[in-house]
Symmetry: C2
Subunit: 567 residues, 2 copies
């Protein structure tokens, strides 16, 4: 149980705190945030053994950083993210997140677990062990998302149980099954198992209110990150849920929820990004961006910073996180300026990880070779041929720009590019079943070629749309050959972004990935895709059968309003 | 791991929350405290499966309590108590505590563990399992209190390790060894073991400040209950410790520390009693008394109630405690009046435990027979004779009324009642070593007879003071025959309070115990004891060798200033 070094390490920390031994690092004359007393104080911050030894005294150390005139706050915590949404490996994500002052992220490996089951959890845990960014894991609660999804396999309470032993596993991730949370033994068993392990359960209950919300809360679900309006958030907060104010790439709720950041409510508020794409991370930032927005909106910086630090630590029972105080992890940000939240330096566990937006070289966590091979070989589908895509009359799904909702546009029998009727297919790729769901799509705008992606929520089969069966086959087969990713194909012109890890992520650096992604987008727009929609994201959510009206799965067009396939 | 009933129980709770099934109990139209939003709200409180199902809706239930015009708050939490200080068994204590609105106490079985080692922890755990009052345990960290103490045996990190498995064990109790916390491997090993189990460590560091406090905090000690002034408390709070505002029987810090109960600091404040004697409990109350004092002093009742409920739950990671909200334990108080904090009814785990100061019959926890026998037979000493008490010149310890400090009053060779020089002895009673420490005492005032008690901190040997060796022997031998307790002896007139459990507690109801104790006090005062001092408490602390100047141990008079025996 005991780390043999824990005792020696603690002894040295105590000695440094007392001034009996030099610190590893001292931030001299810092203006630091005291999250316990809600005030800015001045003094030295002494760091040793990866922890803060003491604060406020006049400390000596091997390395001295002059922090005079600068602010020091705890490194930031993202309370809910799917690392897969960044489409890079955890290590490549960490490089960017650290540069933006993030010290800890709580990730739900929901996407990769749909592709490789519990190996997805294993992969995320191994790929983040000792990474330099502190990555904590909530176990995916809803794999697959629905009984109609064809993914790599269902995860039961028993399947995920062993992971609770890992101290970096904090609980059960967003319980999306807010019908099942009332009625399904399998779902409630997952919740009660998390409780039995002394762990928490995150919620996901958009717009849930009144008595049904009471039922959901009574299930033992302690937070929500799906509030898009103040009233719903306040109702959930009153009922005891922590509110994760989500400001990600697709869903942005900060403007609606920032009125909660007052002394009356703020202690129950956290920040989360949920999904965060490369360009958004690179251009706007991460949790630091949220804090900047808060400060701009006139919110007390202390309340905003606490939502990103000690409040999250409190919710997740991360005892050593989220404060500039003795005994706490030395996860620290040095700010050149508070109002612009200009981050000069970032330390995690006492190690300097980034300076002025530049990340230092990070450790490379060792992922078990077989596991990595499994994660990089998830394309279990034969190449397809145009004949397989012939179909009779099929429903037409209507895309709405800027929405995940779709409309029911009747039926079609053929592709009609001039009328913007394209064919859309979902190719099963986990178990080589040969299942291909086929339908039509209106509103996408493609005039030539085809677009395919293996990021297709939540089962992450291959979804493709095209102007002919042949073009669709070409794009899908390119993806199969690339072991997943994104592909825009127009005859010989093929633009690809290979995502070799689970068909979701790549080990290529984020800047390069972003460039490739932007190139692919440009290629798609050049082929006619409606400039009001994201060519890939719009497809990625077309296969998520929980948002009305019509979606497409591996067995055809699915009517979310009746929760059944269209005959 | 999973309770087989957890699933069915959770399902019913959800159904009740949704209004699909009747509650067990509904408090109708209550004016209840929402600790999350710091406001009073109106609505029903539905209880099922020992938990709150939902709040605010219009609920139906098997039992309806009209709460209109009344206040509902969470039941109260005592964050630090030694149950032994009440000198009754946990069950007899619970009867009184519940009547005063206490739902949870966090106890440190330090006293009984000095007498019977880890069996003391076992006894407290067994004697409180399913009691009706929720009793949580912090493992004693400093048994014995000093290397000079002769107690039943030392408890190492290894000795107490197994108890961390028990979900009612929350951590390591008050680390009194604030010298050792810097220097002793054995002490630091206890702390790092608690950390490794994911548990907390309470502090005990009177007046510690500056760099030495930094060292103590850096050791990983998360709270302090020994602040007797605002400045010291604020320093500790700033450094990250939770402040347990202690208002017990002997030590009362509320007046000094209540200025912390402001919005800026209150979230880091808890309430504790530490030591609480029968008359104080019966006359003034428990944590309810502290809240009443706060309200009288003009403190926002919400802040005071939170210190006694959700703040404590947060500190101890008691996830289901301290709020009137769905999914939380139905530990509830119905108040007739908020300002006088007049408690009408008390529910714990959904069971009505007290009404208007009267406790319902409580369950009787089953204590293992052999364990109980061990706990009730702790007098391992032969009767003594006057010859054993002869001594040459010995130091004279000077008592100061109302203080635990003593003075050095030189030496004496004989008892001199007219000069108030009495003999004081400590008889070892754990291992039948025959050790008897002998010295003289000034300031006690006894004119006839002798007084003896087996409550003698922290080792709980027998301490006795008397006007002759024969009278001392008589009192000590009465105590040995009674298996411990308190005795006032004047020839044939013997007033006894037997404390059969470890020589510290009794299964006699508290009201009766209090009467017997008052009788014994009267008897002692009648024999001349200085009316300004407590005849028994003053002796109990004479054997605690951590408070200057002179104390008495089993091997003689001990000089705390030099931390050695007087030659």
């Amino acid at each position: 149980m005991q780390n043999p070094n824990a005792l020696e390490s603690r002894k040295r920390l105590i000695a440094v705190a007392r001034g009996d031994a030099p610190a590893d690092l001292v931030l001299k004359n810092a203006h630091y945030l005291n999250v316990f007393t809600n005030e800015w104080l001045d003094g030295d911050i002494a760091v040793a053994e990866g922890k803060i030894a003491g604060v406020g005294g006049n400390y000596d150390g091997k390395e001295i950083v002059d922090a005079a005139g600068k602010w020091v706050v705890p490194a930031l915590i993202d309370s809910h993210i799917h690392l897969e949404s960044t489409i890079v490996s955890p290590r490549e994500f960490a490089k960017i997140a650290l540069a933006h002052g993030t010290g800890t992220v709580v990730t739900d490996p929901h996407e990769i677990s749909n592709v490789i089951g519990t190996d997805g959890i294993r992969y995320i845990l191994q790929a983040t062990e000792g990474l330099g960014l502190d990555v904590r894991v909530m176990l995916p609660s809803c794999v697959p998302a629905t009984p109609f999804d064809e993914n790599a396999g269902a995860l039961s309470a028993e399947d995920i149980d062993e992971f609770y032993e890992n101290p970096r596993v904090l609980g059960l991730a967003e319980m999306m099954d807010y019908v099942g949370a009332y009625s399904s033994d399998a779902t409630i068993a997952k919740i009660t198992a998390a409780h039995a392990h002394g762990k928490i359960v995150d919620g996901h209950a958009p717009a849930l209110t009144g008595r049904v919300l009471d039922g959901y809360v009574a299930a033992g679900i302690y937070s929500d990150h799906e509030c898009d309006n103040y009233e719903n958030a306040l109702e959930k907060l009153r009922k005891g849920q922590y509110i994760m104010i989500r400001e990600g790439t697709a869903a942005r709720n900060l403007a609606a929820l920032s009125p909660l950041l007052t002394p009356q409510y703020a202690s129950r508020c956290l920040f989360a990004t949920d999904d965060k794409h490369p360009n958004d991370l690179l251009e706007k930032g991460h949790i630091d961006y949220i804090i900047r927005q808060c400060i701009k909106a006139g919110i007390d910086p202390i309340l905003a910073i606490k939502a990103a630090t000690c409040n999250a630590a409190q919710y997740f029972s991360l005892r050593g996180k989220g404060a500039v105080a003795g005994g706490y992890d030395a996860d620290l940000l040095l700010l050149d300026d508070l109002n612009s939240f200009a981050i000069a330096s970032v330390w995690c566990g006492g190690v300097l990880r980034a300076e002025h937006g530049k990340t230092m070289p990070l450790p490379t966590p060792a992922v078990d070779e077989k596991l990595l091979e499994r994660a990089k070989n998830t394309m279990h589908a034969n190449t397809i041929s145009a004949e397989q895509l012939s179909c009779g009359k099929q429903p037409v799904i209507g895309l709405i720009a800027g929405e995940l909702l779709t409309t029911d546009c009747g039926v079609a029998e053929n592709i009609d590019v001039s009328a913007d009727i394209l064919k859309v297919v979902v190719v099963e790729r986990h178990k080589n079943t040969g299942h291909i769901g086929i339908g039509y799509l209106k509103g996408y705008g493609l005039k030539r070629g085809a677009v395919a992606t293996s990021i297709a929520h939540d089962s992450h089969n291959i979804i493709a749309v095209g102007t002919s069966d042949e073009e669709i086959c070409a794009a899908v087969n390119h993806l199969i050959a690339a072991k997943g990713g994104i592909c825009v194909a127009d005859g010989e012109n093929v633009t690809k972004l290979p995502l070799e890890i689970g068909g979701l992520m790549t080990e290529t650096p984020m800047e390069q990935v972003n460039e490739m992604l932007e190139n692919a987008k440009s290629a798609a727009y050049a082929l006619g895709v409606n400039p009001q929609i994201d060519p890939f994201m719009s497809l990625s959510f077309l296969s998520l059968p929980v948002i009305p009206a019509l979606k497409i799965l591996t067995n055809g067009v699915f009517d979310v309003t009746t929760f059944s396939y269209r005959a």
